[in-house]
Symmetry: C2
Subunit: 197 residues, 2 copies
């Protein structure tokens, strides 16, 4: 590819496999790293090697971290009886960025899907039911994506949970959203859930 060296070519090849990067941006990224070797390339190599060895899924909630139990599950301040159920770790991170939720999480690892033969046992649903039984859970917040599969999964879980309080995220117009760019379903949902001022 570049005739520069086998290692460089291999590095570019691997970088190009990252989502959002193609061959062209991988080459740019590698040249940028070479220019900023001390500030970027060496620290990145170090932390990547460290994470590649230490990263693991939390045995309790499915979040990723560098210990058997993630920082959130280890933090006693996060034990407030609320469990927020999300599909993926990226959703957990999105929730955390809002700094609004103070409880713990449960990462399903996907959604139920008849088409892909993903049933409850392929996800972390049995583990969630056990947590709701064993931990003092007062409310389960289903923060699944507003897709068909996400909502199917939410209904399935709500059915299984029994007595505990179950809630979902509100649906409506996103902050800063312009009506003209919203789909009909969102506008319908926002109108149905309208609030008296």
């Amino acid at each position: 590819m570049s005739n520069s060296s086998k290692d460089l070519d291999h590095l570019i090849e691997l970088m190009a496999k990252l989502p959002g990067l193609g061959p062209r941006s991988a080459r740019r990224a590698v040249l940028h790293m070479v220019k900023k070797r001390a500030l970027l390339m060496t620290p990145l190599a170090d932390v990547l090697a460290e994470v590649a060895v230490t990263v693991r899924e939390c045995l309790n909630c499915g979040n990723i971290g560098t210990a058997d139990t993630c920082d959130i599950c280890q933090n006693p301040k996060r034990e407030n009886g609320e469990i927020c159920v999300v599909e993926e770790v990226s959703d957990l991170w999105a929730m955390e960025r809002s700094h609004m939720f103070k409880g713990r999480y449960h990462v399903l690892g996907g959604t139920l899907s008849a088409l892909d033969a993903i049933g409850p046992d392929e996800l972390r649903i049995p583990r969630l039911l056990r947590r709701v039984r064993d931990e003092n859970v007062t409310e389960v917040i289903l923060a699944l994506n507003a897709t068909i599969d996400g909502q199917t999964t939410a209904h399935y879980i709500a059915d299984q949970l029994g007595d505990v309080r179950v809630s979902t995220l509100a649906q409506g117009v996103p902050i800063g959203g312009e009506l003209d760019y919203l789909d009909d379903g969102t506008i319908t949902a926002a109108l149905r859930a309208r609030k008296t001022l």
Copy 2:
């Protein structure tokens, strides 16, 4: 950022410094690597650590590689008397991808710029003049960008070179280019350099 672990946060932070990646795509890239640990994350960590230690500029031409002299300068088959002068290593790689040029390169490391106080000594221009004198150079191809700074630099170098044959890349309509989307300068250049069929 993610409350997942300090190492993971640090990794995301560093990845977000790569050109073309922001915080959001850095998080996606890291989650992707975690999912493909054996196939992507570990090999990437290995080759990145290797390259961070071994990468260096070729003492002859300024290309990057993992030895004091790059693969192209080491290859006797590439010694055909032609030197292609480019601004950056990325330009060298672009030339190599065309598989058209069989000679050697010289990477200037930028262009002359009065505004940024970049004179000939800040670039690899003295080194180029020495190479033209010492190696059996028959032609210098100035493959600099078609920008003001690039063309100023090309003229300066052509003036310095004296006897040797100096050429530049042809200007015209790119392959697959549509006239409607081309700027006036390109169309003017293409018209001036028109060829009789």
